[in-house]
Symmetry: C2
Subunit: 228 residues, 2 copies
């Protein structure tokens, strides 16, 4: 019953530049990039495969040649995005030197500024809210390392008498909580920043660290920026 179909790409008009047909891997990377942006702004259910295909500049059919389902694509994105970065190495170095300010500054700086990819937070929140298993796993494994390290450091420094005694895990979460809330306010709720990221980092570190130190340096009183 169906009449003759004329599908496939249209015959390219002569003289046009060769369009560099990308390899499968390049395509996949392109799809992931484009899809991540869409998922981050609209969520999983709020993003259609049609939109993704259009945003990449391909047909939906090709999309499904690369990823068997929409969910598989989503999982691939989360897997790629989620990685505890080179942060821990440099922090551990500062920790060995007992450079408290540096330890906290590195962490704060990483959380506030370097979180390079602004879509990650949204992506993560969406996936957590929408109940994808991956995000829970992410928080339990990847993030736990982070908290545990900080909690361990605080415990150690308290033993050494440099920090006063507090619940270390709670303090670790409190510190990262401050920073997470900072990003949440700005990136999700659109509250305007009233100071530069560097200033914010320094202020958070001073606020928290000076509250923790037993011997408190009564330096310049107001808004803090000891050294860069």
């Amino acid at each position: 019953m169906p009449t003759v179909k004329t599908a496939g790409r249209p015959t390219r008009s002569r003289g046009a530049a060769p369009p560099h047909r990308p390899s499968g891997q390049e395509r996949q990377a392109g799809i992931i990039t484009a899809a991540a942006a869409l998922f981050a702004t609209n969520g999983f259910k709020g993003t259609t495969t049609k939109e993704i295909a259009k945003s990449v500049g391909i047909s939906e059919a090709l999309l499904f040649k690369h990823f068997p389902t929409k969910r598989a694509l989503y999982a691939a994105i989360l897997k790629e995005k989620v990685s505890i970065p080179e942060l821990l190495a440099s922090v551990e170095e500062a920790a060995k030197k007992r450079d408290d300010r540096q330890v906290f500054t590195l962490i704060a700086s990483h959380r506030i500024r370097r979180s390079a990819d602004p879509t990650l937070l949204r992506l993560l929140l969406f996936s957590a809210l929408e109940g994808h298993e991956i995000s829970a796993m992410f928080f339990r494994t990847q993030h736990r390392i982070f908290y545990d390290f900080l909690a361990g450091y605080i415990t150690q420094r308290a033993k050494e008498g440099a920090f006063r005694h507090v619940d270390p895990m709670l303090a670790a979460r409190a510190f990262t909580g401050m920073l997470a809330h900072h990003r949440l306010l700005h990136e999700i709720f659109g509250v305007p920043a009233h100071r530069s990221p560097e200033d914010s980092v320094a202020a958070y570190v001073t606020l928290f660290l000076d509250g923790l130190l037993t011997a408190r340096a009564e330096g310049p009183p107001s808004t803090a920026r000891r050294q860069s």
Copy 2:
């Protein structure tokens, strides 16, 4: 062309208890309650009007008699849920007495324990992520009052010499940030709590307040619980 339709409620069999047909207002309240729970767990796009109707126990048609669109229902929910409670009054009383610990404890307690409705956080996050105007407005108006009050108090106490000098707005956000993060971890990411809510409140208050006080009470060193 359509044949005879037999619609309407089925004739009740004799002897059954009178089913108390609710008034319009009661119905609306029922719809809002049921829909709020669904929106909170699945998000706006993840919730269908069919589900809502089924959950209330009515037909979709009746749903649309009460709320012209799905979005209107959602807006009604947010409008109803969002209200800055009696918190500020009691906090202001404590503030007048300069009872620092009480001020921070009231706030922390409200944020961690009393946030009565566990769906509100999810609802709010969803609406923020999905970009509904209401949530941005909520944070800019309702929450601003909150931050401003706390920032004002910190400023005042710093002037009086009781608190050390910090950026007050940043400190206010840092404190609420710790608490927000706490709820986020438990309610959204499912991280298990390692102490009771009361203990958490006391610990957060001690952690933060003792970091802020100029004259620091070197009381019992470890996990804090000064008084109930």
